[in-house]
């Protein structure tokens, strides 16, 4: 995947966590994610359309999700409930929206977010887009940014 597409998502995640959670994010090496590989326990998903198309996922371990949302909302969250889903949705919304604005010369729009809860769930992103997982870690635990996006004029990518 084009580095110019990946970089804005990493930059925006750093900014989001620093601004609203006062957390530093440590980012690992992006790697291709196999189509049937599971995400973490809680995934916020947003679609992007226009000059860049695909999906953006912010996926958290359960413990990371509850700790991050507790910080974000300012109240203790101990279970995977509607309030947690709402907060995770807003976090992925801010990552997608912030990154979209940095995609130079690209005219895009984003959807409203959806949230999936469940251990070992798989987010299917379509057969012609390679998914790149960017491992992240912060003082609340591990999470990942999963990008299955391509420029609209790019040829279909091989998943092999």
């Amino acid at each position: 995947m084009d580095e110019t597409i990946i970089a804005p998502f990493i930059k925006t995640t750093h900014h989001l966590f620093a601004t609203m959670l006062q957390l530093e994010v440590r980012v690992g090496q992006p790697a291709q994610k196999e189509a049937d590989a599971p995400s973490y326990d809680v995934s916020g998903i947003i679609s992007i359309a226009g000059d860049v198309v695909g999906s953006i996922v912010l996926s958290f371990r359960e413990e990371t999700a509850t700790r991050v949302v507790s910080l974000f909302t300012g109240s203790e969250v101990n279970e995977l409930n509607d309030d947690l889903c709402d907060a995770i949705g807003e976090l992925v919304n801010m990552v997608a929206g912030g990154a979209k604005a940095q995609l130079q010369g690209k005219n895009c729009s984003i959807s409203t977010p959806s949230v999936i809860i469940g251990s070992n769930h798989v987010v299917h992103t379509g057969g012609d887009v390679v998914c790149v997982s960017i491992p992240c870690d912060c003082d609340c635990g591990e999470f990942a940014i999963e990008l299955a996006v391509k420029t609209a004029d790019a040829p279909a990518a091989s998943a092999a």
């Binding site: 601004t19 609203m20 919304n93």
Partner: protein
């Protein structure tokens, strides 16, 4: 001072409500999208509106156009992830008075609210 918060995220409404409460504002109403907001503006008569852009049913920009089209003059602050300059211009043309890009710190939101109210009072 009656303030209407329009955002489909309950989390974001709670964060904004908390900041407004710390600023001393207590008359706060909430709406979860543009349609919900339109149904509430007649009865609540807000003096200030904080409006998200991307929402289901009716987005923030459509709400602003509809609200202004009804002749309402109360100041509107767009609070959104839409950060492109073209989006900001589009919002201002539709009748938005000020703009806050998410994510924001409490200080930034407070400052924009105060400057918007000051500008309105001076007009």
């Amino acid at each position: 001072m009656r303030i209407l918060l329009i955002d489909d995220s309950k989390t974001m409404r709670n964060i904004q409500r908390s900041i407004l409460t710390q600023m001393g504002h207590t008359e706060i109403e909430e709406a979860c999208d543009g349609l919900d907001a339109l149904s509430k503006v007649g009865g609540f008569k807000p003096d200030l509106l904080l409006v998200d852009w991307n929402m289901p049913n009716m987005d923030g920009l459509s709400f602003v156009k509809e609200y202004r089209g009804q002749g309402n003059k109360s100041p509107i602050i767009m609070v959104t992830t839409e950060a492109e300059k073209s989006r900001v211009i589009e919002a201002i043309k539709a009748g938005v008075n000020n703009y806050v890009v998410k994510p924001f710190t409490p200080d930034v939101l407070s400052q924009r609210i105060e400057e918007t109210l000051a500008r309105t009072a001076a007009a």
